[in-house]
């Protein structure tokens, strides 16, 4: 069953909320004395107008949202948000093409952080802030964000959540989903504030500190400077960002328990968190050794660079301190393997997620065991709990979709004349919401040279990857639209 009126009403409400976020940018632009008023005011007017219109059309007593409605609302609201979010770039004339403006916003909301802006330093600070704001909202999810701030959807929250969840759903922190969302939101905001303070103390200005903190926690990876993190030239800042990227890649429910409920033990007993740390350690050591042999760097520098790049890529943030495409090929290939793995479910990251990789590993091990013991009943265990066959098959379907999407991306990219390395890097990076790719596209703002159709395809890949395939691709299945 579809409830078109309810869908319209929710989208309308969400649009009005976006206007509030955009209003924050006006503050920044006034502070910096920028001539950006028309761009913001027109956009806000459009948002509020459309929002009110949709709420008016959708006004009725119906409060139920079906599961199908949930998927439509989530996919639609990510697209509509990006469309309206692109307006300030276009109206102000800093990004004169609609394609580029939409690309820029979608890259923001999906926390990919890829960019078509070649000279970032020339952009008004308030527009830079808007880019980072889109990431910060997209980090936990647009619907999630809304439910946490204003529990307006009533009974439909659950279905909306299901469509937007990152990774495998965990046990709720609180019986009510809106309270759970608020708690997770609190930890998200607190960590962002703490990081801002840390970065300020480490020598950044207030604006840079806040923007980088928002960018790190959402694992988006947009910087305020054209030179990125390297422009600050401070090992301390790099270490702070490493630490908070690691936290951004951790399940926020676990972080909540560890920090607010003082139960850090839960964090270190968690199988996924353990395998996440293990992955980070393994990749860092291997790449570190590789760097030490091939590059002429100090020991500390090698460790820091390796750790920074691995954490940045595995959490799908996409910050970089060096141009890793100039490393020995095997090293950046290893980094791309880290992109596949990803961090924890329930975080702000993209890609496979450690839990899925760990479960797939167990499934594979079990298949070997089964050859020797054909009659054995071998469960897939994560810690004490047993992964049901239903979840196992969902994970395998997910993996197939993920890898399939990357491969399709490679084909499409190569059709437009990219070489294999560029095509692979771009495809993987967009599906996993990392940002920078490989080869010629190894810096986040190199996307400006992409042909227009590829930019649209890139947007599609980012959205599909961010909403974990099923939510978006479901709308393309005939069974979804069947009446019965």
């Amino acid at each position: 069953m579809f409830h078109p009126k309810v869908i319209l009403r929710i989208i309308g409400l969400l649009l009005q909320l976006e206007a509030v976020f955009l209003a924050l940018c006006i503050g920044i632009s006034v502070y910096y004395g920028e001539n950006m008023m028309p761009a913001y005011l027109y956009t806000i007017a459009a948002l509020v107008g459309t929002g009110l219109l949709l709420t008016y059309i959708g006004y009725n007593k119906e409060r139920n949202i079906s599961r199908k409605d949930g998927y439509i609302v989530v996919t639609l609201c990510w697209i509509v948000y990006s469309l309206f979010g692109a307006m300030p770039y276009y109206i102000s004339g800093y990004i004169p093409s609609i394609t580029d403006a939409f690309f820029e916003t979608m890259a923001g909301f999906t926390t990919t952080g890829a960019s078509v802006v070649s000279d970032l330093d020339a952009l008004p600070r308030s527009l830079v802030f808007w880019r980072i704001m889109t990431q910060w909202i997209g980090g936990l999810g647009i619907v999630f964000f809304t439910v946490a701030v204003l529990p307006i959807f009533g009974l439909g929250d659950l279905h909306l959540f299901a469509a937007e969840t990152i990774g495998i759903a965990r046990a709720k922190l609180h019986p009510r989903i809106s309270v759970t969302a608020r708690w997770i939101m609190t930890i998200y905001v607190c960590l962002t504030i703490i990081e801002t303070i840390c970065l300020k103390l480490a020598g950044m200005g207030y604006f840079d500190a806040l923007c980088h903190a928002m960018s790190t926690m959402s694992t988006g990876g947009i910087s305020t400077k054209a030179g990125g993190i390297a422009a600050f030239n401070s090992p301390l800042i790099e270490y702070i960002i490493i630490a908070f990227m690691l936290m951004g890649g951790t399940s926020f429910s676990l972080l909540y328990l560890a920090i607010f409920k003082l139960r850090p033990g839960d964090l270190f007993r968690d199988q996924e968190f353990k395998s996440y740390l293990k992955m980070v350690a393994i990749f860092t050591v291997v790449i570190g050794i590789g760097l030490y042999i091939t590059e002429n760097m100090s020991a500390e520098g090698t460790v820091r660079t390796a750790l920074f790049q691995v954490v940045s890529v595995i959490t799908t943030t996409g910050f970089s301190t060096v141009n890793y495409s100039q490393w020995t090929p095997v090293l950046w290939l290893l980094l791309s393997a880290a992109m596949f793995v990803g961090a924890c479910s329930g975080s702000t990251t993209g890609a496979m997620k450690s839990i899925r990789v760990a479960i797939l590993g167990r499934v594979m091990q079990n298949e070997f065991k089964r050859i020797i013991h054909p009659n054995a009943v071998i469960p897939v265990r994560m810690g004490r709990s047993i992964i049901s066959e239903q979840i196992q098959s969902a994970i395998m379907a997910f993996t197939l979709l993920y890898v399939g999407m990357v491969i399709v991306g490679i084909f499409v990219n190569m059709c437009f004349g990219l070489n294999l390395v560029d095509a692979y890097g771009l495809s993987l990076s967009s599906v996993s919401n990392v940002g920078p790719g490989l080869g010629n596209y190894s810096s986040a703002n190199a996307m400006v040279t992409l042909p227009t159709p590829l930019k649209w395809f890139y947007c599609f890949q980012m959205l599909v990857g961010r909403l974990e395939f099923f939510a978006v691709l479901l709308l393309f299945t005939p069974v979804f639209w069947k009446r019965r």
Partner: protein, 445 residues
């Protein structure tokens, strides 16, 4: 004494039968008429159909005047509820059978007491503990600990290579660090006296201190037995789960279960290291592919006693030298013994002996039953002025079929001779045939 037993399953019927033979007034109730079957016509007890959790049924069973209420249905929640209700209606003592290890923890005891549940029994746990100790010492049939481990009772089947065969007791019994409390030869139980001798294939019960266990092992000629490192279990019932979780840290365990649904449940219940195999444990090909020839012990815990016996026999033929069978049919136990099955586990006897001790009027720290002999070993704390402290042991005139195995004084295990005077605060460990236990009460009052 009036006893109401709720639940006519294996444990309930055995208990009812045993108690009615002891001339107690037994009421056996169960909600299913067919389970009560011919109990009433075969034994001197009252059988009634009723739900143990329904107050009117409990009243009809006469719970208000009962001295003991025993709830042994398969469902622990019903058992606990039934006990709470029985206590409320006026039963003096209540016992509930449970299936949850957490409930047994000492810190929860007071709470259950306050609910009106005086004690909890967990037959599967008792059986699992017994299997686990049996596996640890693969050369003996059974080991029981008394006085917090100060004294142990060991049952060993002696073979022809033993050094203590055919020596009359009056010669054997000089300066030995152990005491032989009983010998089981075929169907007869012998409480040894001066001229008796131990013969090959006898089952001998030794009472000794823990540090003498290696010595007992050497005189019985059991040195060649290797330690158990791998086990195959047949049947994934509750005993198997408890046992597997008790021993899985030291040995590798495989459980073979034929019901696929149960297999799926099992993987949630047991530790990670235990492998669950779906199949029929009587299938020699399956056993061979799971490495029965390299397995040290085979434990048959299936539903049917006959199958368990046969499975153990075939495991023996495949070269497993340590087998344990769960035999719920008490008549088969001596038969299983003559077929060299190895240890026998009987959940009913374990539960019954446990419940039995609660019926004694005197304090008794523990009553443990021997699976291979129709006998129990009881540990009695001695009170100030009890009859047993007045005369040396040889003049006490203990009933036939009872034998003092030893005593624990200040935490130290001591042997008892004819001239020993038992003192207050000692713990006396007495071996006795099952029906003699009640007669011992008077010595301790």
């Amino acid at each position: 004494m009036k006893i109401v037993i709720a639940g006519a399953g294996a444990v309930g019927t055995h208990l009812a039968k045993m108690l009615s033979e002891e001339n107690e007034n037994v009421v056996l109730m169960d909600e299913h008429e067919e389970r009560l079957g011919k109990m009433e016509s075969m034994f001197d007890l009252k059988a009634m159909v009723g739900l143990p959790t329904r107050i009117s049924d409990l009243e009809a069973a006469g719970v208000d005047s009962a001295d003991l209420f025993v709830a042994v249905t398969p469902d622990e929640s019903s058992n606990i509820t039934a006990c709470i209700l029985a206590h409320y209606l006026g039963a003096k003592k209540t016992i509930a059978r449970i299936d949850n290890y957490e409930y047994l923890q000492p810190k929860n005891k007071a709470y259950f007491e306050s609910l009106g549940v005086n004690s909890l029994i967990y037959p599967e746990q008792l059986a699992a503990e017994e299997i686990a100790t049996g596996i640890k010492y693969s050369w003996m049939r059974q080991m029981l600990e008394f006085g917090d481990g100060a004294l142990v009772m060991i049952g060993v089947k002696v073979r022809e290579n033993s050094g203590i065969l055919n020596i009359p007791f009056k010669e054997l019994a000089r300066d030995i660090p152990y005491h032989i409390v009983a010998i089981q030869r075929g169907d007869t139980t012998i409480i040894p006296r001066g001229n008796d001798v131990i013969e090959a294939d006898d089952l001998v019960c030794f009472m000794t201190t823990k540090d003498q266990i290696p010595y007992i092992r050497s005189i019985c000629g059991k040195e060649k037995y290797t330690e158990v490192q791998s086990i195959i279990m047949m049947g994934g019932g509750r005993i198997a789960v408890r046992t597997a979780n008790l021993i899985s840290k030291k040995v590798s365990v495989k459980i073979i279960e034929s019901d696929m649904k149960r297999c799926r449940r099992l993987v949630e219940l047991v530790d990670d290291s235990i492998m669950i195999i779906n199949g029929d444990a009587r299938d020699p090909e399956l056993l061979a592919s799971e490495g029965i020839h390299e397995t040290d012990a085979f434990i048959a815990l299936g539903d049917s006693s006959e199958t368990n016996i046969l499975a153990c026999l075939s495991a023996k033929r495949a070269g497993v030298h340590r087998t344990v069978a769960e035999i719920e049919n008490i008549d088969y136990i001596s038969m299983a013994e003559s077929m060299d099955i190895g240890s026998v586990i009987n959940k009913k006897k374990l539960a019954a002996s446990n419940i039995f001790q609660m019926m004694l009027k005197t304090d008794v720290s523990s009553v443990k039953c021997l699976t291979f002999i129709e006998a129990v070993v009881a540990e009695f704390p001695v009170r100030e002025g009890a009859a047993i402290t007045r005369k040396p042991v040889k003049d006490l005139g203990l009933p036939r079929g009872a034998n003092i195995g030893g005593l624990v004084r200040n935490g130290e295990g001591l042997r008892v001779s004819g001239n020993t005077m038992i003192q207050a605060d000692d713990h006396v460990i007495i071996f006795c045939l099952e029906h003699v236990l009640k007669k011992l009460e008077k010595y301790f009052n």
